[in-house]
């Protein structure tokens, strides 16, 4: 790997500059902000999944002391402009868009659908006010499954669409599908389901909108992954110019894809602020977050697989149905990414793919860490089943399927080059870290004692940011860099960290490139008036932002050296910067502090020939980009009397190129794996057949804890460098993408004596016992009420 200049920080687990405030309670999250005259909002929400709204009477609520305003859906309609979801507006939807109002006016389409906003002196009073708003509903039959949604007889949620199909069925073929299937040794059919689960950041959605009527300026304190997309969403809805909306973001308590753009509630809060002429704060509570903020992953797949007797997967023909919930979100975009990624790092020669998106009375499908993750789940699941069918070892079958690393690289049948993909190396490394023969002996002994251990592997690649391919580039990442008057190297980026530690990692790169101590770099984020456009998401920042930081710092340094050369009466080529000082190579006595250079530039010490404006606007196209990926392995212990599964050991061999900060990389991987373990063993966003949401508290939506997630052993492969300087690739999503099939593969291996085959992702204890036929399977999507505190069942106990 090509060395970066003065490699002191990059590659080391430098302590985070975020932590002093985080660890001492000095972080500044939206709910920590108090503005003069600030009011609080709460929403009146539908108790029904699907209903006509006959009337809304807010008179009693308006009378309640402390309530300042109540705005119904109709009120808000009159004071706002119809606008599409800002994220969809960016990426473009296809087909007719459903028509609906900002808050519900004529119809509610899910439990929790907001009907009115109450603005009051405190959140307590706002909630009291919500209880006084009288809404008359006329119940409609709820559409609670994709199957029913696709039935032309299901009542349409949106009058203008006429049915509940968000995206009509569309089919694409890559390679010779018919020929491949005709010639294959074997063909097998599968049906695989992935269940509904969701992001659940520890901080929910939150914003403060503050409208200044005199200036016609809307200031928004937001919890968001992009201040600019939030700005656009609010500006459009309010019919304001974007430059009249100023979005600020400080510390954000996680997001995992949830907080992008401006939700309907946030748009309503902004409208409310403009209406009352005072700042209005809304902080969603956990019930709102679980019920309406958004959900993900509910997809089903019919798969036909063509393969050889040697286990090589030759072709796949896949039909995907995605349950996108009630209101449009990015769910409609997911199938095309699934399609593109399905071949994975394997030699797949033919792919047929068709998909349809269904509209149901559930929360909107939102982006959740690796939204396309099901492609890895189905691919890695069916490979295991095929392996068993052929009597092949799961590692062996994958080694036979991995595309060889060639130059030029092998192409995925869907068009992307597998440049620098080290799947083979990661598989082989896993077999070195796990003594398979020893495990098989231990497994056999355990079975004799009635204990069921299992081992599973799965491989993945993620486009982090993805390779530069024949069909196009990786987009552009911008950054403004400036040597401030006091000698601080300031990086202005549109990245909006919410746990990714950018304020540390980008500073590491800049400090190395410029030659200043880490503490002399400041990363500026979270101000739509100050930073360039950006979005933290898609595991792009390591490459795109790392790259623009690296190259931008070089450009800034060149400018600074040109100016310094003039001051120091030397030639720029003879100047070096180390430890915050500029000096003439070979003459340490000549050293001048960078801060002094900066001060003198700010003071105007220039003869006019040299640029004393020590600032650059840089952009970076991602260079060669690249893939991240690897192989994960899990060992589980399944209690077949109770169905309880423990993950005993978990190994991640990964390749993300060069690491900016190993501790940060490992934290991302472990967090993603924890979410994957949670998805399989604990987490489900459950609805009853009549539309009630059952997982509205943490007693029913179960999150993995420190007793559920084992130590995760991580090895980094130093990989094929694709670029002279920027070989950092992202790891944000990989853990969450590959952990579910890893764990499910291990569970199926544990249950081999029972002949279990698993075609689903959610395996709570009751389901484990059903699979091994110890218990009669029960029908229907989750019967019985969800757990409330004090009711028998799950959730922590209290007295």
């Amino acid at each position: 790997m090509t060395a970066i200049a003065a490699e002191r920080y990059t590659g080391a687990s430098i302590k985070r500059s975020e932590d002093p405030r985080i660890l001492t309670g000095a972080g500044r999250y939206v709910d920590d902000i108090k503005l003069p005259g600030m009011l609080h909002a709460a929403f009146v929400r539908s108790p029904l999944a699907h209903a006509r709204v006959l009337s809304v009477d807010a008179s009693a609520a308006r009378e309640l002391p402390g309530v300042v305003a109540v705005l119904t859906g109709a009120d808000l309609d009159a004071m706002t402009v119809p606008a599409p979801d800002p994220l969809l507006a960016m990426f473009g939807g296809s087909g007719p868009m459903p028509e609906f109002t900002l808050l519900a006016t004529d119809k509610v389409r899910l439990v929790g659908d907001p009907v009115a906003i109450v603005v009051a002196e405190s959140r307590y009073i706002a909630e009291d006010g919500c209880e006084l708003v009288e809404v008359e509903y006329e119940d409609l039959p709820p559409v609670m499954s994709a199957a029913f949604a696709l039935d032309p007889g299901s009542p349409p949620l949106f009058a203008n669409l006429g049915n509940n199909v968000a995206r009509p069925l569309s089919r694409k073929e890559f390679g010779d599908v018919a020929g491949t299937f005709a010639a294959a040794d074997r063909v097998m059919d599968f049906h695989v389901d992935v269940h509904r689960h969701q992001n659940v950041p520890m901080e929910g959605r939150a914003c403060i909108a503050s409208y200044d009527a005199e200036l016609g300026l809307m200031t928004v304190h937001a919890a968001t992954q992009s201040v600019h997309i939030t700005r656009n969403g609010i500006a459009t809805r309010l019919g304001m110019d974007a430059d009249k909306v100023h979005v600020l973001a400080g510390d954000i308590g996680g997001s995992f894809g949830l907080k992008i753009g401006a939700s309907r509630e946030e748009q309503a809060v902004a409208a409310a602020s403009r209406h009352v002429g005072r700042p209005v704060k809304w902080v969603e509570d956990r019930g709102e977050n679980l019920t309406v903020s958004g959900q993900a992953r509910e997809e089903s797949f019919d798969i036909r697989a063509a393969f050889g007797d040697d286990g090589v997967l030759l072709g796949l023909d896949v039909r995907m149905v995605i349950d996108t919930g009630a209101y449009p979100g990015m769910g409609g975009l997911v199938p095309s990414i699934v399609e593109a990624m399905l071949p994975g790092p394997y030699k797949l020669a033919a792919l047929g793919f068709e998909s349809t998106a269904a509209i149901t009375n559930k929360a909107t499908y939102v982006a959740y860490r690796g939204p396309w993750a099901s492609e890895t789940f189905i691919r890695e699941r069916i490979l295991d089943v095929i392996a068993k069918d052929l009597g092949l070892d799961p590692v062996e079958i994958r080694l036979r399927n991995v595309a060889a690393r060639t130059e030029p690289p092998a192409m995925m049948i869907t068009g992307r080059p597998l440049a620098g993909v080290t799947t083979r190396e990661s598989l082989e490394r896993v077999t070195q870290l796990v003594d398979y023969p020893a495990f098989r002996r231990r497994q056999a002994q355990a079975r004799e004692q009635g204990r069921y251990l299992g081992i599973g592997v799965a491989t993945f690649i993620e486009a982090a940011p993805g390779p530069r391919g024949p069909e196009g580039g990786l987009g552009m990442e911008s950054m403004r860099l400036r040597l401030e008057e006091d000698g601080i190297v300031a990086l202005f980026t549109g990245q909006m960290p919410h746990g990714q530690s950018h304020q540390t990692t980008l500073a590491q790169i800049a400090a190395d490139e410029f030659g200043v101590p880490f503490e002399q770099v400041r990363v500026v984020v979270g101000d739509s008036a100050v930073v360039p456009f950006g979005l933290t998401g898609g595991s792009r920042s390591a490459t795109m932002t790392g790259g623009v930081a690296l190259h931008g710092t070089r450009q800034l340094k060149a400018k600074v050296l040109d100016f310094a050369a003039h001051l120091m009466e030397a030639s720029a080529q003879d100047l070096v910067i180390t430890d915050g000082n500029v000096w003439v190579r070979g003459d340490p006595e000549s050293a001048v502090a960078v801060s002094e250079i900066a001060a003198r530039a700010a003071a105007g010490e220039s003869d006019g020939d040299v640029d004393a404006e020590l600032e650059v606007e840089a952009s970076y196209d991602g260079g060669q980009g690249g893939w991240s990926g690897g192989t994960h392995c899990a060992i589980v212990d399944v209690d077949v009397e109770t169905g309880i599964v423990k993950v005993e050991r978990y190994i991640a061999v990964e390749d993300c190129g060069a690491l900016i900060n190993p501790a940060v990389v490992e934290g991302q991987i472990r967090g993603g794996v924890a979410q994957g373990i949670g998805a399989v063993l604990l987490e489900r966003s459950a609805y009853t057949e009549d539309g009630n949401f059952q997982s509205a508290t943490f007693m029913d939506y179960l999150m993995p804890t420190a007793c559920d997630v084992p130590r995760i052993e991580i090895e980094h492969l130093q990989t094929v460098p694709l670029d002279a300087d920027v070989n950092f690739r992202g790891v944000g999503e990989g853990g969450m993408i590959v952990a579910p099939p890893t764990v499910v593969n291990a569970i199926e291996d544990a249950l081999e004596p029972f002949g279990v085959r698993i075609y689903e992702q959610h395996l709570p204890p009751a389901r484990i016992l059903e699979l091994i036929a110890a218990v009669r399977p029960r029908t229907g999507a989750g019967t019985g009420p969800g757990r409330l505190p004090g009711r028998a069942g799950q959730g922590p106990r209290r007295c």
Binding site: S13, K15, R16, E18, D19, P20, R21, I22, L23, T24, G25, A26, G27, R28, Y29, D31, D32, K34, Y124, V200, P201, M202, E203, D251, I252, G253, G254, F256, D285, R286, H498, G499, Q500, S501, A663, V664, E666, G667, Q668, R670, G671, G672, V673, A674, Q675, T697, F698, M699, M703, T705, A706, C707, V709, R711, I712, P789, G795, P796, R798
Partner: protein, 157 residues
């Protein structure tokens, strides 16, 4: 409204909260101590954990009026004279956290736990922290921070 007096982070504080106001909201809004976070308001996630009369408690499950006369320590009260506690420093060194939202709850719970169980092993630490939810880290870095703090405390004594 009930007038209450209590000690918070070593200082006497007073307030007149509504009876129904939780201790968590009182600390955050009335005393402007926003370090204590609210993650669920039904006592499961642990983000609101403070130390009250020597014990870790969930401040979202107490009324502010119930804390009258008590001695409360919040995350803002751990650093002495601007110097982080051993645990805070160890967590910094261990890269324990990412987004930081769960952090105050973990730090207070771990502080209370280590005070009573200075020689706890990893399994015991994980059990003690299993009532705090983190969505970002997968817990290993947090546990390592606590183990490091325990080790440093032992070296010191």
């Amino acid at each position: 409204m009930v007038d209450i007096t209590l000690r918070v982070n070593g200082a006497t504080r007073t307030g007149s909260p509504e009876v129904r106001k939780t201790l968590a909201d009182f600390l955050r809004e009335d005393l402007s101590l926003t370090g204590t976070h609210v993650g669920c308001e039904h006592g499961v996630c642990g983000a609101c954990t403070v130390i009250l009369d020597g014990r870790a408690v969930r401040s979202c499950l107490m009324l502010a009026v119930q804390a009258a006369g008590s001695d409360v320590t919040t995350i803002e009260g751990l650093a002495a004279d601007g110097e982080m506690s051993t645990l805070q420093q160890a967590m910094w060194d261990s890269h324990s956290f990412q987004c930081g939202f769960c952090t105050p709850g973990f730090v207070m719970q771990a502080t209370a736990f280590l005070g009573d169980h200075p020689d706890a092993d990893e399994r015991q630490i994980r059990e003690a922290l299993s009532g705090n939810i983190c969505r970002c880290t997968g817990y290993q870095s947090i546990v390592e921070g606590v183990l490091l703090a325990a080790e440093r405390n032992r070296e010191r004594s």
